[in-house]
Assembly symmetry: C2
Amino acid sequence: MAKRALPLAEVYRLLEPGPVVLLVTARKGRANAMTMSWHTMMEFEPPLVGCIVSDRNHSYATLRATRECTINVPTAGLARAVVGCGNTSGRDVDKFARFGLTAVASARIAAPRIEECYANLECRIADARMVARYGLFVLEVVAAWIDRAVRRPRTLHHAGRGVFVVDGEVLRLRSRAK
Amino acid sequence: MAKRALPLAEVYRLLEPGPVVLLVTARKGRANAMTMSWHTMMEFEPPLVGCIVSDRNHSYATLRATRECTINVPTAGLARAVVGCGNTSGRDVDKFARFGLTAVASARIAAPRIEECYANLECRIADARMVARYGLFVLEVVAAWIDRAVRRPRTLHHAGRGVFVVDGEVLRLRSRAK
């Protein structure tokens, strides 16, 4: 995918609609991808993203130790890889190999991005104080990438138990909101 | 709408897909509705929801003072009311009257629910320690209501600047996730 830098002030437009994302961490040259739906924007600029990573997830220890990750936004064509990454653990599976994902180098951090996702956010932990109690990591997005050729990204939204809702019709309304 | 109680363990299935919601607070007999997309599930049961309410919002002071609110999930038919609630402030507008919303009594809290929304969550603040820094309120859902007749709720997802994506196709995949 031919990606360009996305201005950081535009990052909220990717995550605010609540898509399922793939969170990628890496340690000792080995990258792992975790499927995640529990995230929210917390600030526009610099973009802050709050996300819940449970200590039952293999990514938890790597994220705490390396303090960085990428958030990758898949579209419906990647649904099987998204579910596959959710059904397996990086403890015993190389998810990139198993699900045909390509790791590409990030610009600002060591954890790679996923080539097949139309947008990638490079993140560093900004605040880990709510991790022990809630598994809540506050991440700052330090670089963002998007494939502008994907005009209407059909992202996925998880409604529980394998039910995924795909983006449908687009409404344009006169909103004063950002 | 004929609503029934929704088991609290099922609440995540409403919010995990990231819909735009209406947050309702009430004080001195006056209810107000705020359009909100910055929220995430934080725990399954009891259901905890993290949401960002800025101190620039009229709802902020009421939420802090009363420590309770309802989260109401609208579908696409309410898009104009959703945008209207986002474009106006409870400081100068009675949004329920202006946008044709009906306040119905909650079971466990004083803030009302919105009749026209297919699902309603009654919430109390569980943790306000991240409010000063991030406007992050951790809410516990203490009662939940749903209209089961709405089989495929076409919820809204805000992608910035008045662009709303409506739920489309549903995929059912073999996920081991909850």
